[in-house]
C-alpha cells in the first residue's frame, strides 16, 4: 500500500482511545512505503497530524472498538495496493474529508525530509497542495 493503511489509522484511534497519546495537537504519524514497484522512484513518504480533535474524538468514540471498519471503508473507497500511488493519495485525502476523520495529510519529499506538502481536496474534487515550508 502506497499510503497509510486502514490498520495505521485504526491504531492511532486505538492509542487515543486508550490514553496512549498525551497531546493530540503534537502527534505526528509517518509512513514510508516502497510504492507500486521495486524502483526507488516509487517510494512514498507521508505524515498525518490530528488537525481537528473534535472530529477525531467523534471517530474514536464510534470506531475505536471496531478494528476492521476502516479496512472495509478503504475497500468501499477503492484504496488498495493495486491502484496508483496518485489515486491512493487522492482517495485517502477524500476519505479523510468525507468521513471527518480529523486528520491532515502531508506528502514528504523522500530526498529532503524538511519539505512537506499538505494534501487537501477542494470542493470541486481536485487536489489542493499547500507547501508547508
Amino acid at each position: 500500500m502506497s499510503v497509510f493503511s486502514g490498520a495505521d489509522l485504526y491504531s492511532v484511534y486505538w492509542l487515543a482511545q486508550n490514553g496512549r497519546i498525551a497531546d493530540l495537537s503534537n502527534f505526528v504519524m509517518f509512513v514510508a512505503t516502497p510504492g507500486q514497484s521495486a524502483s526507488a522512484d516509487d517510494d512514498t513518504l507521508y505524515a498525518m497530524t490530528i488537525s481537528n480533535p473534535v472530529q477525531f474524538n467523534n471517530v474514536v468514540s464510534s470506531l475505536g472498538v471496531v478494528p476492521d471498519l476502516i479496512d472495509q471503508d478503504y475497500g468501499r473507497k477503492g484504496i488498495n495496493p493495486n491502484v496508483s500511488t496518485e489515486l491512493n493519495e487522492k482517495r485517502l485525502a477524500e476519505i479523510i474529508k468525507e468521513r471527518k476523520y480529523g486528520f491532515s495529510l502531508y506528502r514528504g519529499n523522500r530526498n529532503d525530509l524538511t519539505e512537506w506538502t499538505r494534501i487537501k481536496i477542494k470542493s470541486n474534487g481536485a487536489i489542493r497542495e499547500n507547501n508547508c515550508n
Binding site: S11, D71, R99
Partner: protein, 175 residues
C-alpha cells in the same frame, strides 16, 4: 404574501437538492449527496447461500443486499451494500456461527463490488476476533472462489491471541 411564497419556494428548492445516482464501482465522487446504486443488478448474482463442503468440514455464507444503505458516518451517502453471515463446521464440530446479518459498524462479512465477477471481501473471525480481507470471484453462475489474506499494516492490540479459525482458500457452490 407574495414574499412569503417566494421565501417558501426558495427553502423548498434548497432542501430538495437532487441526489445523483452512480453505478457500483464508482469511487471518486465530488457531490455530498449521492447514491451508489446497483443499477445493473449485479448483486443478484451473489445474493443467497453459498456452501463449501469437504468431508466433515463445511463453510456456509449467506449474503444479503441492503438497498440504499445509509452509512452512519456519512448520512448523505447511500449505497447498495452486501452484508452477510457465516457458519463453519470442522470435523463435524461447529467452530463458529454468525446468526444475524449485521451491518456497520458490527459487520462480520461484507462484499464490495470490484467488477461484475469480482468482489473485495472483509470478514471478521469471531474466534480470534481478527479480520481478513480477500476476494470473491464468480467462476460461473453457481460457483465462486473465496480467498482471504491479512490486510495491509499492523493493528495495535488486535485480536485475543487465538489463531484464525476460518478457511482461507475455498470454492463455494451456490445453493
Amino acid at each position: 404574501m407574495k414574499r412569503i411564497f417566494i421565501l417558501i419556494l426558495l427553502i423548498v428548492s434548497f432542501s430538495c437538492k437532487a441526489q445523483t445516482i452512480y453505478p457500483l464501482g464508482t469511487y471518486d465522487i465530488v457531490e455530498d449527496n449521492y447514491y451508489v446504486k446497483d443499477i445493473e443488478n449485479h448483486h443478484d448474482d451473489i445474493v443467497g447461500v453459498w456452501k463449501w463442503e469437504d468431508g466433515d468440514d463445511l463453510f456456509e455464507i449467506t449474503l444479503e443486499e441492503f438497498e440504499a444503505y445509509q452509512d452512519f458516518l456519512v448520512p448523505t451517502e447511500l449505497q447498495d451494500r452486501i452484508f452477510g453471515k457465516y457458519k463453519y463446521i470442522k470435523d463435524g464440530d461447529l467452530v463458529s456461527e454468525v446468526v444475524d446479518v449485521d451491518t456497520l459498524p458490527d459487520f462480520k462479512l461484507t462484499l464490495i463490488y470490484s467488477s461484475p465477477t469480482s468482489y473485495r471481501v472483509f470478514i471478521r473471525d469471531c474466534v480470534s476476533e481478527t479480520g481478513k480481507t480477500g476476494e470473491f470471484i464468480l467462476i460461473s453462475a453457481t460457483t465462486a472462489t473465496l480467498r482471504l489474506w491479512n490486510g495491509e499494516g499492523v493493528k495495535v492490540n488486535y485480536g485475543n491471541g487465538l489463531e484464525w479459525a476460518l478457511p482461507t482458500d475455498i470454492t463455494l457452490v451456490k445453493q
